[in-house]
Each structure stands twice: as C-alpha cells, then as structure tokens.
C-alpha cells in the first residue's frame, strides 16, 4: 500500500465496465476520519470502489451548469456508457471536456458517486479527478485488463471475502450475466 507520513493510504483505482457500474447503488462510508469518511461504491461483482480508472470513447459533452460551468461527458465502452462529470472543483478535467471535440478516446481517473434523478432512478456517475485524451491501443489494453479483473472478481464472488458476500446479498448477482458481459467485451476486440 502506498502511504506517506500522515498515514494517508491512496485507494486503488478499480476497473469496472459501464454495464456493471450502471447497476451499482450500494454506497458505504468508511475510515477513521469522522468528518471526512471515505466513500465507497460496491459493484455487483464485489469491487469496492473509492476510485475508478476507465478508458473509452468520449461521444458527447455538454455544459449543464447554470451560473458556473459544470461539464458532463458520455464515455462509451463495449458494454455501455459512463457519465462523467467535472465542475468548478475539477478544473483540469472540466477544461478537457470543454475543449475536446468528440469522438475521442479518453482516460478518466475519478470517484464513483450515485445520484437520484427527478424520476427516482438511481444512477451511478463518475466525478473526474483527471481526464486525458489517449490512443486506441490504450483503450484496447483497458478493455482486456478490465475483462481480466472483472473475471477475477466473478471467480471470487462465491467465496467468503466480505465484499463478495455483501455484493451477493445486496444484488443477488447473476454470475452468468456478468460472465456474458465479460466475454462480449473481449469478443468485441477480436473483430478489429
């Protein structure tokens, strides 16, 4: 674990496909710091994410802020789409969304959050910490890596690790459905 003198431990950036993040709605707060606990989003295959790393195709950008800029981007992977947001506290990422003309391959490091729409739907989105335009090879590598890590989580889903148990109980995760998602994502790479 990375750690510096203040006892701060940097959280791993998990790799999660859009189709899985979309289904995620179990948020937990943890950490010794009562005022600023760390926020985690548990996904159906048991990834407990405080941070995620995604690479996909930026297809739409929109400034949805009223008085201050608040940018939202739609990023597509082989399984679906992520919504990524960047406001006044994520200036660098907001700049990238403001000046990048879709379509473009893009890599995002960010914090997953859950919000409820006016219609009452619960949606997961990613608050960007940083965002950078990348090449096709990086995107391909991400798809394979994410497939690999997701398959690993699926394999552990019937085990006793607390995150796996919690995910199973909360989502009643359909293992076959997620296996199909993984193979579909990887299959899509072969046609290229």
């Amino acid at each position: 674990m990375a750690e510096n003198g203040s006892g701060y431990v940097r959280e791993v950036a998990h790799r999660v496909f859009a189709a899985e993040l979309k289904e995620s709605n179990l948020q937990t707060k943890e950490g010794q710091d009562e005022q600023f606990p760390k926020q985690f989003l548990l996904t159906p295959t048991g990834a407990k994410c405080n941070r995620v790393f995604i690479v996909g195709t930026l297809t739409e950008t929109e400034n949805i802020g009223n008085e201050t800029d608040f940018w939202r981007g739609r990023i597509v992977d082989p399984t679906g789409a992520f919504y990524v947001t960047a406001g006044q506290y994520q200036q660098e990422a907001a700049q990238v969304l403001a000046k990048t003309a879709p379509p473009e391959f893009i890599a995002v490091v960010g914090k997953p959050t859950v919000f409820t729409t006016k219609e009452g739907n619960v949606l997961a989105s990613i608050k960007a910490e940083s965002m950078h335009v990348v090449d096709a090879a990086t995107r391909d590598r991400w798809v394979v890596e994410t497939a690999n890590l997701t398959a690993k989580r699926i394999a552990k889903l019937n085990g006793n690790e607390p995150d796996a148990v919690k995910a199973r109980e909360h989502y009643s995760t359909d293992v076959e459905q997620y296996k199909a998602m993984v193979s579909m994502a990887v299959e899509s790479m072969r046609g290229q």
């Binding site: 950036a13 995002v108 490091v109 940083s130 994410t146 497939a147 690999n148 699926i154 199909a180």
Partner: protein, 313 residues
C-alpha cells in the same frame, strides 16, 4: 510470573550472582498481585532491587548480552535487539537535537533506515564505510521498519566493503496521477530538498537550483505503486531537457506548465517500470510503454468466461 522469575535468575547467574528464587517470587508476587503493578514494571523493580543489593552497575546488567546478527531484509519484528553488519549507504539530516545521526544502512540483502540518539554517545559513522552495529533495536512506525542505536549499542568499523544488495522491482499498470512537486522544481543548494514556494523546510528562503523530476502513481487495478524519476530518466523519457523546461516556464511565466505537459503525456497510459525499491517508491531505472500483446489474454479470458451460446454468437 514464573517465567519472569526464571529470566531474572538466569540473567543474574550469568553475572556470577546467585539470587534466591523464592525471594524473586515473593517480590514479584507482592508487586503484581497485591499492588497491581504491571508485570514489566514489576520486573524492572525487582531487577533494580537486586542490582543495588549486590552492587552491580546497571550498565553491566543491560549490555553484556550478545545479540543475534541478522540481515537487513530479515527485520520483521518490532522491538527486537539485533546486530547488523552494514554499510552506511546514506546519511540524512538529523533534524532533531535528540538525534545525532540518521540515514540508511545496507547489506547484501537490502537496506534499512537507522537513527542514532545523541544520548547514546556513540562515535559518528561515515557514508560509504562499513561497520558492525551491535545491540541495536528494531522499531516499527507506520508499517516501516528502522533500527535505533542507543546507549547500549556498539559501533565497530570493519575493513571489508560490504556490497549493498539491490532487488530490482518491476511493476506494470496505468499512471493514474502525476503528483505536485513534479516537473520543473527548485532544490535547496545546502540540503538538496525540494523547495516549497521558494523556501526550504530546513534552511528557509534560499536561492534554489533547478531540477527536473516526476513523482507519479502507477495502478494495476489491485495495487498502487509510487514511482520516482530523477532528472536523467525524466529527460530521456519525456524528451524535455532541463534547459527546455526552463524555457517553457519562462515563456509561460509559470513553472507549472512543465507539470501540465508531463501530465498530458503520462496520465491514463500503461507503462512497465523497473528499479530499486526505496520506502514506498520505486526509483525508476527504466520505464517503457506497456506493449505486451493482448491477444493471449483475450483467448484466455474467453476460455474462462464463454458459455455455449456466447461462442456461437
């Protein structure tokens, strides 16, 4: 309690003094059971009592022991007394009056941080020289081990030049952050520390000298790894030389542009790095884009996840 009695008795025997077992037992029992003194405190009390009674100087009692010689990388326990055969790899600023020296020791197996207390009254060690460090004690702080040299420790210079072993660590993953303090920085001319807002933590406002470095975080989705690139590696890898970086900064009237450019080059991409591990960092010797073919992975993942209907699709 019996255990403590045995230990005390054995230790006094080594010094040629026979202490009555029953006497130790009675004293310990009274302190621990009647007066609720913690066992360690009781041991200390009883030991001191007999030292006084038999007129043994405290230093004799506490130093005579020979501690086992271990390798630097084998230090895995807190509060253990050991002997090390090491070269002084690096001396750091002993930034507190109670410290006389601090730095890094190394042997064939690896390195370990050390601190030497002023109160210990030990001779100064020199960088690059090898010594036998007898009776040093290990300590664990924030998941890292170090050794401290105290009053009872001994430093014996040895003629041999110990080769410090370096284990090369490799890590591959995506760079998810390039941290502040990267790019074009200024260092203190006295202690080489990076300046923050033109001031050194130790020497205050100084005329810094320019340097180039990258502190970044690699992440493979399961672990994070901090990496550190010095000027040489940074220049070769980014193609931005120190002179070029200064030019960029002058043109933009902002040192930060170099960091921005480097972030754009690195963040979100996959790399393989190799280098020595120091603390939580890998000191990068080589860094390359990760171009390992992905076809094999694709076949393997498909084999592991495919179901009949997925194969037909």
């Amino acid at each position: 309690m019996n255990e403590i009695t045995k230990q005390i008795e054995a230790r006094f025997l080594e010094l040629g003094v026979k202490v009555e077992t029953s006497e130790i037992d009675t004293k310990l029992d009274q302190l621990i059971n009647k007066f609720k003194v913690p066992p360690e405190e009781a041991r200390r009390n009883v030991v001191n009592y007999f030292l006084k009674k038999h007129n043994i100087p405290k230093s004799d009692f506490f130093t005579a022991r020979e501690t086992a010689q271990v390798k630097a990388s084998d230090i895995k326990e807190d509060g253990k007394w050991i002997t090390l055969r090491c070269k002084v790899v690096q001396l750091w600023d002993a930034n507190h009056e109670s410290l006389s020296q601090a730095g890094l020791l190394g042997d064939e197996s690896g390195t370990i941080a050390f601190k030497k207390w002023s109160k210990a009254n030990l001779p100064q060690v020199e960088e690059g020289k090898s010594y036998l460090f007898k009776n040093v004690v290990t300590s664990l702080w924030q998941e890292r081990f170090s050794v401290s040299l105290n009053k009872t420790s001994e430093i014996i210079p040895i003629a041999e030049n110990i080769e410090v072993g370096t284990t090369i660590t490799e890590f591959s993953g995506a760079i998810v952050d390039v941290q502040s303090g990267s790019g074009l920085i200024k260092r203190c001319p006295e202690c080489n520390r990076a300046l923050i807002k033109g001031a050194c933590g130790e020497h205050g406002k100084v005329e810094g000298k320019y340097d180039l470095r990258i502190k970044a975080v690699l992440d493979d989705g399961e672990k994070v790894q901090d990496i550190l690139m010095n000027r040489e590696i940074t220049e070769a890898f980014t193609g931005i030389t120190l002179d070029k970086a200064k030019e960029m900064a002058t043109e933009a009237l902002d040192q930060g542009v170099v960091l921005d450019v480097m972030k754009n080059m690195l963040v979100g991409r996959y790399y393989v790095v190799a280098g020595k591990k120091l603390d939580r960092f890998i000191l990068v010797d080589s860094i390359k884009p990760d171009v390992k073919p992905i076809e094999e992975d694709i076949t393997r993942i498909l084999a592991a996840t495919s179901m009949p209907f997925a194969v037909e699709a």
